[in-house]
Symmetry: none
Subunit: 217 residues, 4 copies
DNA sequence: AATGAATGAGCCTTCATTCAT
DNA sequence: GATGAATGAAGGCTCATTCAT
């Protein structure tokens, strides 16, 4: 009936949409299969299980998102402020790029609300490498800063970006759909960069302050 | 069979646990009723609907959390920096206080992943009032700052706090359960306060640094 | 709340409407009680049972119908043809009178489809007395006719009248609502009288035609 | 488990019995499925709905009954009296034939008490064609009779036959089971034919008496 | 006497899964 | 390899009924 060789691929796509729209339990394998144009038994045949399909779907969604905005290989000698700017820009794009399937966000949040085995794989394959990059940048900038404090700073940076993604419904309800839309990848990246560099005591753009963030504790 | 006078209260508690653990669709009214010690028809009797019960559960969870850590009525003349410190501390406590039911977090994230009508009520009753407080503090501190920029700063502040709550599974998997636990309400509050005040150019504690956060856009 | 002294009466009325509209199983005691303005437990309190209420409702409906159009006490010497004319007219009125609650018909048919104990009582209290009257008239007209044949004639007469009542939906669908309405009590009575008297060999009215059914309308 | 190839057929049979015995609302799909020897989900699988199953059941019952006693194609020149005799005989057989499932009657009456969409289809497929045949016969016999009067005569004829079927419980209670059984298809046909032909002014059989209804049995 | 809060049985339906093809 | 007809478990909800007041 349809090209059968990439039925699993089509199932993955269909599953992403349906899982995001209806939730794991709310989604039915029938709808997924129909939308994918495969047999009712397709899910069980290709993925053994509804749950296995879900996990694969989450992983595929994250992989796709990460691959679309890769972190560059900075040439040696690149100043760490520049790297940080790049990092925040890319991370914001990953979070807020408009051409990503709208269900990635939902799937990701679901996984946060109720982690499955997909979460661990996600951390291993995507989160940890990304965290390592940010950690290296911060270490280069503030080699004398204790690890724990550096970690907190990293969380503050990504936390600002993640906010717009994770709490989109609240942002929209709070400031209106129109205003919410103005917080796009570019604007968020610029704001977070400026906010964070100032916090870290780095001179914004070309200024020369170097202070760290106060002295918590 | 059991004390009957507060069956609805018990249902709300049981529903919170089950909804958080299994999700809306995954939860069964049967399990909720059993855990609450009321009849199978209890949900329909007291809340008319599984959905209505869910909404009430989400609202109750947020209400409880907000009421437990109310924002103080600052006496006139309180310096805005002090207010901001208080706000961040209270907000962090709301997010990370350890004596709150563990399912509040899950329920909240689920609502973000797939907003129901509970979300709008939540924004109206809890989010907006809280946002107004923070907005007033920032306006007092930086009256000349454009609204949009002030909004972004507010989001940066709460975003840092929310991060630990929303992405707890990732934090735990990334840095280990032990380290993750050190990011408690107090430490997060102190870090976010210092980070944000520095970013905003306010002197940490009593120091004398000055500039606002660069010049985004 | 409402006048409580005739709550059972009001229940009977409400039950008639609801039973006829929804059927026995389809009707809910809740709706009946609400419509009657009595407590949810009213049915069980006043009639012990949903079923008992049903039976009482059927009986009340038939009783009301019969009492509204009583068979006259003919003065001695009344010619049997006259009695037959009267009987058919009254019977048609009972069947087709327009000011009777529309649900009598439905309740009656339900009882035919699935007789309850109401049926026996109905036969005893209403059908048998009526049948006795018709039987006496026919016996007076055709004393030499065997009982069995006289019974068949009686059935033929009432059968014609009952037809319009029992199969109203079919009549309406077959000839249209407008035409169906023309078969009212009077026209049916005249036709059935003429048809039956002709069949029985009695001269219609006083004319001597032996041809078809008189001149209804 | 059981022969699977005609599960829908078996469901139709079982449904007929249960619907007739318990009514639409009173019948449970569970009982129907069990009696049919198919899975609990069988009704929804084969008929989508309990309601759809009901409609199909009513239609099947009527179809079966009609097909069992078809109206013959009379050769040209057949005298209309003969056709009428045949018609009444066949119609009576349809109504009173003993080898029909006893639930056909109940199902039919239920449909009269509370017509569903099955009623319209029934009229279209079964009633109207049959009515057309009788109408044509009467038109052939009494071409000068006004339509309305011919319609009333047709109703009188079928009304007599239908009586025994529709009001079987009353007949039985009134004259006893034994006597009721004597009103079988043949006797009713003979009586109704004689009664009606006499009413219509046609000579019964070939005699010229205008007296009562022939000599059935 | 009359109420209505609370119950538990049970109904229709849907769903993920399997197995013969 | 892939299919889809058929299954059985279970879910949300409704309903008649009761019992303490």
């Amino acid at each position: 009936m349809t090209t059968k060789d990439d039925a699993d691929r089509r199932l993955l796509d269909a599953a992403g949409q349906v899982f995001a729209a209806k939730g794991y339990e709310g989604a039915t394998v029938r709808e997924i299969c129909e939308r994918a144009g495969v047999n009712v038994a397709g899910v069980n045949y290709y993925f053994r299980d509804k749950e296995r399909l879900y996990i694969e779907t989450v992983k595929a969604a994250c992989r796709h998102q990460t691959e679309q905005f890769p972190i560059p290989d900075w040439p040696p000698g690149t100043p760490p402020e520049q790297k940080l700017r790049d990092f925040v820009r890319i991370f914001s794009q990953r979070m807020l790029s408009e051409n990503q399937a709208p269900w990635h966000r939902q799937l990701f949040l679901r996984e946060m609300a109720q982690p499955t085995s997909a979460c661990a794989e996600l951390v291993r394959d995507t989160v940890r490498p990304t965290a390592a990059v940010l950690g290296a940048i911060l270490e280069e900038m503030f080699p004398e800063l204790p690890d724990h404090k550096r970690l907190a700073c990293a969380f503050s940076i990504v936390g600002q970006c993640l906010f717009y993604r994770a709490f989109q419904p609240i942002v929209t309800l709070l400031v209106g759909e129109e205003t919410a839309r103005t917080f796009n990848a570019q604007l968020v990246a610029e704001h977070v960069t400026a906010f964070s560099l100032a916090a870290l005591g780095a001179p914004p753009k070309s200024a020369k302050r170097k202070r760290v963030s106060g002295r918590p504790k």
